[in-house]
Amino acid sequence: MKAEKYKKVLAFAILILASIIFVFPFAWILIGSFQTDEQLLSSPPSILPNIDFLINYKAVLLGEFYGPYKVMVPTAITWIPRSIINSIIVAVISSTMTIIVSSPLAFILASFKFRGRDAITFSMILVRTLPIAALIIPLYLVMKNLNLLNTYWVLILTYTGTLLPYGIWMLTASFQTIPKDITDSSTVDGCSTIQTLYKIVFPISAPGIVVTFIFCFLLCWNEFFVALTMTNSPETYTLPVVISMFANLPQMTPYSLMLASAVLGAVPPVIIVLIFQKYIVSGLIAGAVKG
């Protein structure tokens, strides 16, 4: 019994320590984002926010620059608001398209046995593991020839393509939980397979579809490599690309504005993940581990 108690204390200590390590870096930039450069760069570091604690967010989002930034500010910072809109547009369309394109295949994979079914599932997994860096030159050339470089479409197409294996995998796992009687009876009632999918399967597996959408949205929102190589104007830059432009400036990094931008990039995924936390892990391992 005593050993049991020690075990619990040890576990608790480990968890507290781990939580501090996991939260601190994030909390630290959050605190920093509420300070002006003057406060931020002072020693010893202070954790008090500026009186106007949203001052950096006003600067980054509304263009209300303060202090030295009134005179000079890296151009990239003025692109932040537009890039947030771009990120949202691209992520929403790509995630929606992923679900539309992958659901018929997922439904077939989940409901019917046919030759080649396992081969498809396996090749999806295999394809999923290919690093995008290995494909980037040909992709770039293809998109260039299609005249799509520097448009939303280049990102939407690439993202939808790279997300498809995820979508198929997650949706198949979700559709498999639907009792076969339900889909069978709707087919008897004269629904075509596609009608069954949209009228019966979609409403029943709404949670699974929402989780898949959330997953795709997160991956798009955080995607950097493709956006970096395929776009080259503020009209199409996504938020990560703009952040990367002034995060690593050799001189005069606008620290407080950088921290505020990093927070803007990190907070939406964090909030989404916390809301849907129940489903995230099961979504990640869906179909991958059997029992």
């Binding site: 920093g32 020693s43 295999l126 050339l141 790279t162 950097f224 990640l284």
Partner: protein, 295 residues
């Protein structure tokens, strides 16, 4: 009247339902990877002499290129460190999470924060923490009298450990949640039975938890290997491959070769090698993963 439905009979014509997916996957994966193999046999540098076929020329060039070997070495060491440490740390955390403590929900929620943060932003965060002049790490070291003027972590040999640390921050929490999900699938009776048989904590871990967790461990290993082989974002925002070429991972080299030095031929050759490494590893992992667990 039924013709339309008949042609869509899913048993025979399942491929119709997959067609949109197959087209997109061909466009985004299959065609590019084949095309990359082709380009890798060309001499193709923007601004250089014209495009011409040179067979394995790019590969031969790479094999004598120190930078290529350096980046391969960096990538492998990085992947091994990240995978090994992630498995070890996340296993410890998963076991701790498995103790039914009060407020466990908060811990689990906290675990998701680093994972939701993209590696690019994670790089921004950690470069701020390790900033030479204003970073909190240097402030702490300074307060304890361990440094006078601040250590320039990211411009020294310490850059590599910092990159590993930042990567672990991203991947350990989610891995521990995956392993926790695995631990939860182990029937509790097994532990009770082993206790009756007089097994100690280590024995019951080694004899029960570990073997039954095998698939989940392999899944974590697979995920983290894939993630670390494609590491790019975190390098971009944390070290830009430096100092020197200390943190030049292979994706970074592909980017530099193809889009900075504009050498498509050589860039493609590196891409093909990276794809091969990834495919071989994936194949191995999945052979292991889909072998049934035997009691």
């Amino acid at each position: 009247m039924d013709l339309g439905r008949k042609s869509a009979d899913p048993h025979k014509n399942w491929w119709i339902y997959g067609l949109p997916s197959f087209i997109l996957i061909a466009l985004i994966f299959l065609f590019p990877i084949s095309y990359a193999v082709y380009i890798s046999t060309l001499q193709w540098r923007i601004g250089g002499p014209g495009i011409r076929f040179i067979g394995l020329g790019n590969y031969l060039l790479l094999f004598t290129d120190n930078l290529f070997w350096q980046s391969l070495r960096v990538t492998l060491i990085y992947a091994i460190c990240v995978v090994g440490l992630t498995v070890l740390l996340s296993l410890i955390l998963a076991l701790a999470l498995n103790e039914e403590l009060k407020g466990i929900g908060i811990f689990k929620a906290i675990m998701l924060i680093p994972w939701a943060t993209s590696p690019l932003i994670s790089g921004v965060i950690w470069s701020w923490l390790f900033n030479k002049d204003f970073g909190v790490v240097n402030y702490v070291l300074f307060s304890f009298g361990l440094t006078k003027s601040g250590i320039n972590f990211l411009a020294s040999d310490l850059a590599f450990p910092v990159v590993i640390l930042a990567t672990l921050w991203n991947y350990v929490p989610i891995s521990s949640l995956i392993l926790l999900a695995g631990i939860k699938t182990i029937p509790q009776e097994l532990f009770e039975a082993s206790k009756v048989d007089g097994a100690n904590a280590w024995q019951s871990f080694y004899m029960i938890t570990f073997p039954l967790l095998r698939n989940y461990l392999l899944l974590v290993v697979t995920f983290v290997t894939m993630w670390s082989l494609r590491a790019f974002d975190i390098i971009y925002s944390l070290t830009s491959g430096g100092p020197g070429y200390l943190t030049t991972v292979i994706s970074w080299l592909i980017y530099q070769t193809s889009f900075v030095r504009l050498n498509f031929g050589e860039g493609s050759a590196i891409s093909v090698i990276l794809a091969l490494i990834t495919l071989v590893l994936t194949f191995t992992y999945f052979r292991l993963l889909y072998k049934r667990v035997e009691f």
